[in-house]
């Protein structure tokens, strides 16, 4: 992978290239942006370029583009995945640390990993190339002590080293961390690119468009949903059914629909656990529930957009009928209120509230019952 092949991140790469051309490349960067938009790919291609010993530069009037040669020893070793000056730090390294030897990787990035794989190593001189590159994945999972341990290194690392933090939630990092790094923001991937990538995988075009819009420009997420195959019916079928029943939804159907949603969620999480056996069941269950709730949000958000005259941007473009029917029943402000309501339910998912109760409460509320006041 070289920098040229990365699409939709021209702004981010351009900013890096300009800094490089001006000779002002900082030693610590945060690559910030939603999950699945190509941060890691970019970081790897960038590292490859930095490490390359016969770097190419294409002269252009506005922006000279630096890229790796792909032929030198460094590049070949990098492609082979064993470059001695490139270090990828991730939470899965935990079992291999001295302090936490053999322990399983947890949700967060423990200090042992950061200390042993980054802080203690930055002083090492490069072996093969002119510099060393450290890429830390999922920096949003750094806990407070890990981040504090990083501070000194981030502020004044050795001259030969570059540190890149990949982070989907840059605003969650400590202000002390943020102030020591330069933040490069990664935007969402364009819809046509995602649709093209999905259709290449054999996904139907209308479906591809739906997933592209639902995932809001995250290629990884769209791919995940579109290729997931739960038992019984595909995710897309589930979504169609959900939208249809929401459009016709009435108070007396609430409990039935909630049970159906619970069933759908468990089918989706079941399919996930086949793909990712190492992730915990609870985590997958939550992800599935949140996915379903996001589909609900999309429905009401579409209604809102319809009322605001932005009918061409709706997510459920394949099911305009039910959306329009719903739009006749509720106005923009009501749908805005309902969206806020669903978000509250999404928060409950993270707070380990019983899934069944969440769906029931949500649907009762959506039906406008005053039994449970929000």
């Amino acid at each position: 992978m070289s920098l040229k092949n990365i699409f939709c991140q021209e702004r981010a790469i351009g900013a890096l290239q300009r800094a490089m051309n001006a000779g002002r490349l900082a030693h610590a960067y945060i690559f910030a942006g939603p999950a699945g938009v190509g941060k890691r790919t970019t970081a790897q291609a960038w590292a490859k370029m930095l490490l390359c010993r016969e770097r190419r530069q294409e002269k252009a009037t506005d922006l000279s583009f630096n890229d790796s040669c792909g032929r030198c020893e460094s590049c070949r070793v990098f492609e082979g995945g064993g470059h001695p000056d490139y270090h990828l730090i991730e939470k899965e390294l935990r079992p291999f640390t001295m302090d936490d030897k053999g322990k399983e990787a947890k949700q967060d990035l423990p200090i042992a990993v950061v200390r042993e794989f980054l802080i203690d190593k930055v002083a090492h001189r490069p072996v093969m190339s002119e510099c060393t590159v450290y890429v830390l994945r999922e920096a949003e999972r750094l806990n407070a002590s890990s981040q504090n341990a990083l501070l000194k290194v981030l502020e004044e690392p050795p001259k030969h080293c570059f540190i890149i933090l990949l982070c989907s939630r840059a605003d969650r990092l400590l202000p002390t961390t943020q102030s020591r790094c330069q933040i490069v923001r990664f935007g969402p991937v364009d819809e046509p690119h995602i649709v093209a990538a999905l259709t290449e995988k054999g996904v139907d075009k209308t479906q591809a468009q739906y997933w592209a819009r639902l995932s809001e420009g995250s290629m990884g997420e769209a791919l995940g949903w579109a290729t997931l195959a739960p038992k019984g019916s595909s995710c897309y079928e589930i979504k169609r059914q959900l939208v249809d029943s929401l459009a016709k939804h009435r108070l007396e159907d609430s409990l039935e629909l909630a049970a159906w949603m619970g069933d759908a969620a468990s089918r989706i999480s079941g399919a996930w656990s086949d793909i990712e056996p190492q992730t915990s069941k609870t985590d997958l269950g939550r992800r599935a529930a949140k996915g379903l709730l996001r589909m609900v949000v999309a429905v009401y958000s579409d209604v809102m957009k319809l009322h605001a005259g932005q009918g061409d941007q709706i997510v459920n473009a394949d099911q305009t009928g039910p959306i329009e029917a719903l739009a006749r029943r509720i106005d923009a402000e009501q749908s805005a209120e309902k969206i806020a309501k669903v978000y509250e339910n999404i928060r409950w998912v993270e707070a380990s509230v019983n899934e069944k109760l969440i769906f029931e409460e949500l649907l009762l509320n959506l039906a406008g019952s005053r039994i449970i006041s929000a």
Binding site: R11, A15, R18, A19, A22, R24, L25, A26, H27, R115, I119, S145, N148, A149, L150, L151, K152, E155, E156, K159, H160, D171, R172, P175, S179, R180, C181, Q182, I183, R185, G187, P188, E216, K290, V297, Y300, S301, M304, K305, L306, H307, A308, G309, Q310, G311, D312, Q313, R328, R329, D331, A332, E333, Q334, S335, A336, E337, A340, Y343, R347, G368
Partner: protein, 593 residues
């Protein structure tokens, strides 16, 4: 090839260089001059205000080899000064408190501290990020911190003094480093740019010092990022592009749309912002900044020193401030602040952001209490007071596909007393339903009066609340197109409600009467409704059921009814609603025996 960032290159070297911390610098200088340097200092303050810098300067000042004793002006040339700057002096030991957190690290420090310095006067321990030390580590420090050897000095630096044990704090001299004034940051940045020989527009400095948010390092890091774009001169547009900051202009535009209650445009402006890679939190933060500035403008003026704005921005903001009223802004800022938390903790906050912005745009203006009073008084006098209360027009359906204009059934959660958000909407938003002409023959005041009940019922189908209020009105007269409605003085609320919906009502009556109608409202002076006699409804229809029952079941009334074989034709309440008087029934006996 590695480049040293500005924040490191322009780290201040002497006490006089340090910007924005004059008090601290002066105190330390005096302490050195008077030979009263304490053995332990605790420097606190937010990121990038000069804690580590000051600690290093102090270390240099204590140890400079050029002078005979501690000096306020370290030479910066001797071995000691140079190696302190590089962070590798053997007598100035800089420890990262966050990675050496354990009690063992402190034990080691204690063991080494007893040895005399190698070449300088003092052994200086600088412990940065000291808040991360464990409790045991802190406690292990206590003894040596209280009575260290003469040659040992401690300097602690931290951003979170609350995590430093009180027993530690009481053994140190604590210096709080304040946030740096934007103007000072601006001056320093301008100086840096000059010495780097980079041309710039003055507005960039203002924008940068605002973004720096009181931290010098933030300012310099941001400046670095802007410079690294490699374009000269530096402009605000370049800055927003390079930093991925939401463009101030676009945020102002968003605020303007909210102020104009234009729902569709609000969503459009949001979409434009999100497309450039801004996160929802960034947008909220920027919007909070703008709203804050608007509040400042409204309470002082656009020239206030409390605003960090360019002259151009001051003008646009002043114009923007006219769209809002202060209570409304305060409501907005609290809503945004609440929203910020939820959005920060949500994975895909876009829809929530859009929904909340829409609600802000559609929410009603706030009206001050005095305005309400003024309005009430005005309506009492019969003057029209529409104005501020009038809500913006709700978004119309512009969607593709044929829509029936309005929900057929009333929104399920609009209960008998709709909340503030929905109440006016009920009346205003709903276009009057297809209402056929309701009066046969000539339209006169009398015929309108006769059909009044029918018409209010028809109105109630769509505008329940207005219809109920309209029942309190009587038709005072019909002159040409002008329909005069009279309200009892006690029904001032009903009158003001109907008045604020004049347009809807006029449209309704125009249809109902089959001719153009304009409305005029008047308050009747005598308390009793003027022409209630015109009512043809069931006895006491205007009262609620229980009152009516009570009146009818009263023994005195019963006696009259049975004894005289009378029939109740009407029940009327007296003005004062004491229960005894409620029973006052207007009886007419028919067919007396």
């Amino acid at each position: 090839m590695a480049y040293t960032v500005l924040a490191r290159r322009f780290r201040s070297q002497t006490f006089d260089d340090v910007v924005g911390q004059d008090a601290v610098a002066q105190t330390l200088k005096n302490a050195i001059k008077m030979g009263r340097v304490a053995h332990a200092y605790l420097f606190t303050g937010t990121r990038g205000v000069g804690k580590t810098t000051m600690a290093r300067i102090l270390a240099k000042a204590l140890n400079c080899l050029e002078a005979d004793g501690p000096t306020t002006t370290p030479c910066l040339k001797c071995d000691s000064c140079v190696s302190v700057n590089a962070g590798e002096d053997i007598d100035v030991i800089e420890i990262d408190g966050a990675s050496n957190t354990g009690v063992d690290d402190v034990r080691q420090l204690r063991q080494n501290a007893i040895y005399r310095p190698a070449r300088a006067r003092y052994k200086v321990y600088i412990i940065d990020e000291v808040h991360m030390l464990s409790t045991q580590a802190f406690n292990a420090l206590l003894k040596i911190l209280e009575e260290p050897p003469d040659h040992v000095k401690f300097i602690f630096a931290t951003t979170e003094p609350n995590k430093v044990l009180p027993t530690i704090q009481s053994r140190c001299q604590r210096f709080d480093f304040g946030a740096i004034d934007p103007a000072v940051i601006g001056r320093q940045l301008a100086g840096v740019l000059k010495s780097e020989k980079i041309t710039f527009e003055d507005d960039v400095i203002v924008a940068l010092s605002r973004l720096a948010n009181g931290s010098m390092r933030d300012g310099l890091s941001l400046l670095d990022q802007v410079i690294s774009a490699g374009v000269e001169p530096l402009t605000v547009a370049l800055l927003e592009e390079a930093l991925g900051q939401p463009s101030r202009q676009k945020i102002c535009e968003l605020a303007e749309r909210i102020g104009q209650h234009d729902a569709a445009a609000v969503l459009g402006a949001l979409d434009a912002l999100l497309k450039t890679g801004q996160t929802a939190v960034q947008i909220i933060d920027a919007l909070i900044d703008v709203v804050r500035d608007l509040i400042v403008i409204q309470s002082t003026n656009a020239a206030s020193d409390l605003l960090v704005l360019t002259s151009e921005e001051r003008k646009t903001m002043a114009a923007l401030a006219g769209l809002f009223d202060t209570p409304g802004l305060i409501y907005n800022i609290t809503t945004l602040e609440k929203l910020r938390w939820t959005i920060k903790n949500s994975d895909n906050p876009r829809a929530l952001l859009e929904a909340s912005m829409l609600r802000l745009a559609l929410s009603e203006h706030f009206i001050g209490l005095e305005n309400v009073l003024a309005r009430l008084e005005a309506t009492g006098g019969g003057a029209s007071a529409g104005g501020g209360l009038k809500k913006n027009a709700p978004p119309e359906l512009k969607a593709p596909g044929a829509f029936s204009p309005r929900p057929q059934e009333k929104a399920p959660d609009a209960g008998p007393f709709p909340s503030k958000m929905t109440a006016p909407r009920d009346a205003d938003a709903l276009p009057v339903q297809e209402t056929g002409r309701m009066i046969a023959g000539e339209v006169t005041a009398e015929s309108v009066r006769n059909a009044w009940g029918k018409m209010t019922q028809a109105l109630a189908e769509n505008n329940g609340m207005t219809a109920r209020f309209l029942e309190d009105a009587t038709v005072a007269g019909l002159e040409g197109n002008l329909l005069r409605l009279r309200f009892a003085k006690s029904a001032a609320l009903a009158m003001s409600h109907c008045q604020s919906r004049t347009e809807t009502l006029e449209a309704f009556f125009t249809k109902a009467l089959g001719q153009a109608v304009r409305l005029a409202f008047e308050a009747s002076d005598n308390g009793a409704p003027a022409e209630t006699a015109a009512k043809s409804a069931a006895p006491g229809a205007k009262m609620d059921k229980s009152t009516r029952q009570k009146a009818l079941s009263d023994p005195a009334v019963q006696l009259l009814l049975t004894g005289l074989d009378a029939k109740v034709t009407d029940i009327e309440e007296l003005k004062t609603l004491s229960p005894e008087e409620v029973q006052d029934a207007d009886l007419s006996s028919e067919g007396e025996t």
